[in-house]
């Protein structure tokens, strides 16, 4: 089935009226996507550490159990950290949702096919790892409750059109990204 959802629309909708949501984005396209939706201090767009977005989300969710945490990452990034789905399944953070924006491609390296293009079902992997809610999304449906209310861990694999879009870049300074996040959340950047 050919995907019809557009990634920037999906991410913009996920982040609309975001309130206290804490957001981590996986490197590459999803980092550009969250920035296109509006650069925000309570977002942590990564430029490296491929495979670690979901684990950063777990660390954040454990440190801030009263906040909702949303990880937005790509299928290639998620595949590199597949074991983290098992680790999250064991920890059962109720406040964590992992969203994979799945274009079935490595978007930054020449649009080569990922395993999801060959039938690997990440939502089933997440389900088998113990995520409470996990599904593949192929059309525009309401997702707000899942991100903001439903007890997790939650997982969404959202199938999107494979497209090359204009880059919308967040700051690249890692110390700045970390410090502004901590200032916005904790009111301080140091220990």
């Amino acid at each position: 089935m050919k995907a019809t959802l557009r990634r920037r629309d999906v991410v913009k909708k996920l982040l609309s009226d975001r309130r206290n949501l804490l957001v981590v984005a996986g490197l590459g396209s999803t980092t550009w996507d969250i920035t296109a939706a509006g650069d925000h201090p309570l977002g942590f767009p990564t430029w490296g550490a491929m495979g670690q977005a979901a684990m950063m989300g777990l660390g954040l969710a454990l440190a801030q159990p009263k906040r909702r945490v949303l990880v937005i990452t790509g299928d290639g990034e998620m595949l590199m950290g597949l074991g983290s789905l098992a680790t999250i399944g064991v920890q059962q953070p109720k406040n964590l949702t992992v969203v994979v924006i799945d274009n079935e491609r490595y978007g930054e390296t020449g649009m080569q096919a990922t395993h999801t293009a060959r039938g690997v079902d990440l939502a089933k992997v997440a389900k088998a790892c113990g995520f409470r809610n996990s599904k593949v999304v192929t059309k525009s449906v309401p997702l707000r409750d899942l991100v903001h209310k439903t007890a997790g861990p939650n997982f969404l694999q959202i199938k999107v059109v494979a497209e090359k879009l204009p880059l919308v870049l967040p700051p690249q300074d890692g110390v700045l990204l970390k410090d502004r996040f901590r200032r916005a959340l904790l009111g301080k950047s140091d220990a």
């Binding site: 550490a49 954040l60 890692g174």
Partner: protein, 170 residues
Amino acid sequence: MQPWADEIHRELTHAGVRVVGYVPDAGHKRLIELCHADKSMRTVVLTTEEEGIGLAAGAWLGGARSVLLMQSSGVGNVVNVLGLLKTCGFPLTMIVTMRGEPGEFNSWQVPMGEGTQAVFETMGVQVSRASTAADVAPLVAAALKSGGGQAVLISQKVIGIKSFQEQTNQ
């Protein structure tokens, strides 16, 4: 028994460590048990050491200090993501039990054991070595007070496991 493990646990408590990521390891058996029993700490068992770096970064963004417990063989699993500590200035103390040192009973452990310190240093992590049980706690305390990536390597001599049988009997 590993009395130095109790001393590490006291230092973690003193530093306010709330999240403990680890890959199971015989050398850290006692410390892992102490952390599990401690209600002020959340233990997170990992499928690979690499996950502990992401976990620590996320926890720090959320205001929680964490540590990563691993064996030297796991140091090779974290190389690329150690860059995160340097690029963003995340503080993380990694407590590493050594394998592949003189007395090692498994030759397959030797290459990574020999390379451990160099790998860390190449990636900008500050390394200290505890060659006696008395060195362990003060080095961990010093690492917890410093910023960036910090690794404390605990010598195989301190751990004192000399055969497969002893490891299995732990």
